[in-house]
């Protein structure tokens, strides 16, 4: 049994069902063939080894035909109350979204879309976006229609111009723009590691499904051969150096691709708009009332060079891993001071981004240290026994190093732990490998989770989590003394706490 509490939007059906742009008939096959490439390549290679190209050709035709059905089976309708989408060949799906539930509208144009003058519109609606449930994807509107739809949905007067990055109309305020000097931070984002893994994965799929071992053909063969000929020390140096250069170069390329032409502007109505991208352009709009905070995020390598990125905390925005994929970047990796200043401007001049925070005290600090060191110590104990029983000594040395790394992490984490309330915002801070300072409007907090392990209870600590419909859905105040956690809840949600407090109200 499931009881949905809010009432369903009233069905008012007057507008006509329409198709997406027929130009999508060019795009779908290309994308689907690209996706099926390793399998198709395998079919072709398997076929030609038997002297026949037919398996590959038939496979390609099937893929193309299936991809075309997507256009023929998709219909959309935009009524004054709803946006409705129907799609699917075998399993018909129908999705409707009430207009007043729309939080964000994201207009993206990939390379092919741009060549054909098309755009993909993603409409975000709130609570279930994190799992991709509440999103409506209209892939293949003309740019013109996409921008009009966005302006229409977000209740703004339409602006002239057809580009996804509209010309700055009078009244628009530019809050940030890419400074080419920021690109020097790109290698420290390590986004190239992901690229490397993707290439590695493609290599394995090709070897597995296509039966092609790239290490046996072409220039790669020569490289492998040359590496085999080197002494071990030299080989390690060369491979390490090669990987470092690879990651640095691909990270930089990734940064430029994602953030070229980055601009953050504020429309007169308060709506924020982020436009960015070199080949794939993307324009994300966030209504001001949906923007309930921001996170300043400093991954360790970026922190080491004094840089940070800023991410919006807004209802209806996906929060994925990797800032490039989500639509929520307010500032690409840039100097920390720029990020802090931006949060201040975006959230109407609040001091919450800079204000002093309360550290969590000695017990919390000890817990961070113990948790940092413990895995290494346990491992060392086991390996020590192994060594005493006649095993090799080097694993013990490695685990000893692990203890030191854990200690450093623990110290750094302990230093990061803090929270504060400032200007109507709850501010949380924590983390070492990725340090985050999050600013969340107190009005956006829905409820509270207070978690404590057996060991935390012995130390009198709890981990407090403020739940919200925006961003990461929950913001943590880790290892805070129990009384202080209750005080935070009481200060922000007095009505909630009042009925469940143990002591009578202080007079």
């Amino acid at each position: 049994m499931s009881t949905a509490v809010p009432t369903a939007p009233p069905p008012v059906e007057e507008a006509e069902w329409q198709r997406l742009s027929p130009r999508m008939l060019f795009i779908h096959p290309v994308i689907e063939i690209g996706r099926a490439l390793p399998a198709l390549a395998g079919l072709f290679i398997a076929g030609t080894s038997h002297g026949s190209p037919w398996p590959g050709l038939i496979g390609t035709v099937v893929v193309v035909a299936l991809s075309l059905t997507r256009w023929f089976t998709t219909r959309l309708r935009i009524t004054p109350q709803q946006v409705q989408l129907r799609h699917g060949l075998v399993r018909r799906k129908s999705i409707a979204t009430a207009r007043d539930r729309i939080r964000t509208v994201d207009v993206t144009s990939h390379l092919l879309h741009r060549v054909l003058g098309l755009a993909r519109v993603v409409i975000g609606t709130g609570s279930n976006d994190r799992h991709g449930g509440g999103r409506l994807i209209l892939d293949g509107l003309t740019l013109d229609a996409a921008t009009r739809l966005r302006d229409d949905l977000l209740h703004r007067p339409p602006i002239e111009g057809t580009a996804p990055a509209p010309a700055v109309t009078p009244g628009d305020v530019e809050l940030a723009r890419l400074d080419t000097r920021w690109i020097r931070y790109a290698p420290f984002t390590l986004s190239g590691v992901v690229t490397g893994l993707v290439i590695w994965g493609f290599y394995w799929r090709l070897a597995g499904e296509g039966g092609v071992d790239l290490a046996r053909v072409g220039p790669l063969h020569a490289v492998v051969h040359a590496l085999r000929a080197m002494p071990t020390g030299q080989r390690v140096t060369v491979v390490t150096l090669g990987l470092v250069i690879f990651v640095a170069v691909t990270s930089t390329v990734g940064y430029v691709l994602a953030f070229w032409n980055f601009r953050l502007i504020r429309h007169p109505g308060g709506t924020l708009q982020v436009t960015r991208g070199l080949i794939t352009t993307r324009a994300t709009s966030i209504e001001r009332r949906r923007l309930v905070g921001a996170t300043i995020s400093e991954p360790l390598p970026l922190r080491a060079v004094g840089a940070a990125r800023v991410v919006a905390v807004a209802t209806g925005l996906r929060t994925g891993r990797g800032a490039e994929r989500g639509g929520e970047v307010l500032l690409p990796p840039a100097p920390l001071a720029t990020g802090v200043a931006l949060v201040r401007r975006v959230l109407d001049g609040t001091s919450a981004a800079t204000g002093p925070l309360r550290p969590h005290g000695a017990a919390a600090r000890r817990r961070r240290l113990v948790r940092g060191v413990l895995p290494g110590v346990l491992l060392s104990a086991v390996l020590g026994v192994v060594w005493a029983a006649g095993g090799p000594a080097w694993p013990l040395a490695v685990s000893g190093a692990l203890v030191l790394v854990g200690l450093a992490l623990g110290v750094d984490r302990a230093a990061a732990l803090a929270h504060g309330r400032d200007d109507g915002y709850l501010v949380t801070r924590g983390g070492s490998l990725v340090r985050r300072r999050s600013v969340l409007a107190e009005g956006a907090i829905i409820g509270w989770n207070l978690r404590s392990t057996f060991f935390q209870r012995r130390l009198g600590l709890v981990s407090l989590e403020a739940t919200t419909a925006a961003g990461r859905q929950g913001y943590h105040v880790t290892d805070v003394p129990a009384a202080e956690a209750t005080a935070i809840v009481g200060a922000i949600s007095p009505d909630l706490l009042e009925q469940f407090r143990s002591a009578p109200p202080a007079t």
């Binding site: 509490v5 989770n449 419909a469 929950g474 469940f500």
Partner: protein, 163 residues
Amino acid sequence: MTDVLLRDPAHLVSRRARAYWLVRALPGWLLIGGVLTAVLVGAGWSTPVTGSIVWTAIGLAVLHLVVMPWWRFRVHRWEVTDTAVYTQSGWFDQERRIAPIARVQTVDIERGPFEQLFGLANVTVTTASARGPLKIHALDRGTAEHIVAWLTERAQTAGGDGT
């Protein structure tokens, strides 16, 4: 500032909950026991090492099956007021969750095979936050239905879209 702490939620869950938790934990231990037996028989019984492994596993199982249901029963509590839902759950690790009824989006009752065996039901209350569902496990069926009816009615009068 005086130290203000949260009190426990007012109500315990069903008295049959202890038996329910005990029975629900059994299959896991039976599986572990089965795998362990298969491995040890395969390796040849009765060295001192295998003996100590078996006794450790049996000891852990008994400890878990005796301590966990009793401990859980002392921790699991719930309370629904005019304006809020408050739950407490867990045993070794414990969690309290508070949410205002005005922000409640859905209320679910769920009865799996173990719940039906003991005439129990689990209630899940969701809010607009993916991190915020409140779960009350092992309630009497009647109590669970009562809670759902109450919450549905209260949430409807509260209105709003819950975000």
